[in-house]
Amino acid sequence: MSRSLRWFAIPTALLLIAGCSGGKPDVPGKGAGPAGPPAYGDAIIEGSIGDVSGFLSAVTTDASSHAAANYVFNGLVRYDKDLKLEGELAKSWDISPDGKRITFHLRKDVKWHDGAPFTSDDVMFTYRRMIDPRTPTAYGEDFRQVRRADAPDPHTFVVEYGRPFAPALASWGMHVLPKHLLSQHPDISKSPLNKKPVGTGPYRFVEWKTGERVVFDANPGYFEGKPYIARVFTRVIPDQATMFLELKSGGVDIMNLTPPQYTRQTETAEFRKSFSKYKYTASAYTYLGFRLSHPFFRDVRVRQAIAHAADKKALIDGVLLGLGQEATGPYKPGTWAHNPNVKRYPHDPGKAKALLAEAGWQPGKDGTLAKDGLRFEFTVLTNAGNEARAKTAAILQQNLAEAGIKMEIRTVEWAAFINEFIDKRKFDAVILGWNTTPDPDQYDIWHSSKTGPKELNHVGYANEEVDRLLDEGRSTFDLEKRKRAYFRIQEILAEEQPYVFLYVPEALPVVHNRFHGIEPAPAGISYNFVKWYVPAALQKHKIQP
């Protein structure tokens, strides 16, 4: 259930269940009461702040839709509990020695929910639709890299790339579409399947009441075995406070908590009696990014000074109520690509001032630094409606004032923020966040060729060694080689501070404790959802199959 195949900016601070990831449980992941053997039955009610916008994940981009689609569909590959790729609809795969050809061996025991067999024709069909100009998808690019695709027999699928391309493998986590139901629909987004999906996944679609809820029933013929929980309700509750009240009154069984809810509103004996809270490192980080062509920020000493001035501990305590950790680079702590031994910038206003003095900035009459008659004043931008980022800005403002830097804060509505400021490079500095994917390829964010309009290297970072390493990292399947490249990239980024990496938040899911079988792992809790169960004695909802 928990796969996040792609990166996207997070305009809100709330990550849905689909975004949970690795770590340790706050309380043992065991349910309450008599722990009986696994039993079929009962229902789980999931709270979601957004409605589904469609079930074909090729044409949707929001977390709610992707989470819903994950119940119904499968990809050829998926991330396992340790965030390593494993086969899903593909039993296994081979990569040719030159790294250009991937051969997928498909499972033979898979059926679509309507009973039709799943074959390589479906995979070929999905691939063709991903590159079809009539498909309004934002994810076609990885599939356009394919030089040749072939389905030699019903259970083999072969793709050839022009050059070895490591992120390509993860792109085959894209949900496979049923050819026999979609071939009549040139535009899949307008097909009935986008509203009433038929997939191969653990749950079958039952009902979607727009703006209210989506209902799924366990798929008895699922190739990994019938899921224990008989029914899943996903309730749309746009307000976090309302959702929390629903949780307490039994209207919701699983949701993500906010830091205040986690630390202050759930520490009662009564709450602990009914719920288990979990805590993991989220796949996301927040940063302060500089426009590197700005005369102030061109100097690496100035950026390092700001890194020293920023009190990351205060940020984590103030913004996340302690539920987070310091970010040192663009990778998730605890994953294979993350380098824990890079240069750190402890909070040290004295050191910050010294570095700034070295760069020629001297205190003026009112304490604000100045150089060549220019005062050190700039504006940081962030998107409106994101409380965490607004608080971050306020704390940073105070931190920088201690170092003699005057920072103004401006919040702008998301679309205007992106189009008028980020895309046009009309900013001094920004506070933003990235979601990170298990695959460490970040070519689009750091490569010097990606600084054009609408491209993602919006700070304008350019470093020849990083460029070379990014290329190296994505063009081999050798994990050791990739690791070396990404470790070095993190060292360079830590030294040069094109972003001041601020913090990595925790995902804070809570689950009613009649659910057993939850085993927290680096990938979160929902990766083994089909194995969750409610012992017969504790079942709450009677579901007629």
Binding site: D239, T242, A416, L456
Partner: protein, 324 residues
């Protein structure tokens, strides 16, 4: 009278076109566009895929062509397809939201009128009395209290502590398996809190309006005349004063017509009600042009219709206007 109505209806067509043109231009002037939600900060979205999406939605055409296409479709009452990933017809998306929004608005408006008119009249008649002062404080409290805060307090009391009422949503999970009576009861239980809250916030305006109308009418000569004739006070108030004080309410009713299909975003978000307010808000945030235009056009049409109805209603109720 009929000719007057016909003339007003015909005149409203160019007005509607004008409103839609202004809305269309304003909408396109707002930064960002429909495909931004999909492609902004998405490393997988290249310039090429962006251009492809632009062409897919017809956004690569000049503005006047886009507006022309929209207008041509509108002429056949076709609102077009939404730009959101589900690509469903706008009319369908609006239609499925209307019943719940309309229900809540009609119920809360009825409640407002039922409570506010007597309260306003009584406050006017007993101006300065204890009742007048208490009701004034109460209705203004309702007006001033932030809805979302009061809503949460009521949810905690009735939903969590007492467990009498559902907290949010408009139907229970087992709604489909209930009988007709069960369905009605379930709906009613879900609607109690939202309707009460919506009405509480709206009491102030209506009751104060009624009160000042009544105060003005009571001071009129014909009321003094009625009293001088020796009519009992009840008859003076209800027969002579109240009927005249109620006249301006017709205007308010007319102006409320567009509100029937409008919804408050905050309100619907708190109660998880899939109504028009949320639909429009999401449409605006994702720059779903056809949906925005559809809702704005319906709103404009209802506003014009409401004005017309108010004028006609007034003419029917007040002979002086009819003769003029």
């Amino acid at each position: 009278m009929l000719r007057y109505i016909l003339r007003r209806l015909l005149l409203s067509i160019p007005l509607l076109v004008g409103i839609s043109l202004v809305s269309f231009l304003m909408m396109h002037m707002a930064p960002g566009g429909p495909i931004g939600a999909v492609t902004d900060l998405n490393p997988k979205a290249t310039a090429e895929s962006r251009a492809r999406l632009q062409a897919y939605y017809g956004l690569d055409q000049p503005l006047h062509v886009q507006y022309g296409r929209w207008l041509a479709r509108m002429a056949t009452l076709d609102f077009g397809d939404s730009f959101s990933p589900d690509g469903r017809p706008v009319s369908e998306k609006i239609r499925e939201r209307i019943p719940i929004t309309l229900t809540i608005n009609v119920l809360s408006m009825t409640l407002i009128f039922l409570v506010a008119i007597p309260v306003g009249i009584y406050s006017a008649v007993r101006k300065g009395s204890l009742f007048d002062r208490i009701s004034t404080v109460t209705v203004f409290t309702g007006f001033a209290i932030p809805t979302f805060w009061l809503a949460l307090l009521l949810m905690i009391l009735f939903g969590v502590k007492l467990g009498w009422l559902p907290i949010s949503g408009i139907s229970s999970l087992d709604y489909g398996s209930l009988g007709v009576a069960g369905k009605l009861a379930d709906r009613a239980r879900h609607l109690i809190l939202p309707v009460l809250l919506a009405a509480f916030g709206g009491l102030a305006g209506m009751s104060r309006y009624m009160r000042s109308n009544m105060l003005e009418v009571i001071r009129q000569d014909y009321v003094a005349t009625a009293r001088a004739k020796g009519l009992p006070e009840g008859k003076v108030i209800f027969r002579h004063a109240m009927r005249n004080a109620l006249l301006p309410v017709i205007t308010i009713l007319g102006l409320s017509v567009p509100d029937l299909l409008g919804g408050s975003v905050i309100f619907e978000t708190i109660f998880a009600i899939p109504g028009m307010g949320q639909l429009f808000y999401q449409g605006v945030m994702s720059r779903d042009y056809p949906l925005i235009m559809g809702i704005l056009t319906i709103g404009a049409f209802l506003t014009l219709l409401g004005n017309l109805l108010a004028d006609v209603g007034y003419a029917l109720a007040d002979p002086r206007i009819r003769q003029a």
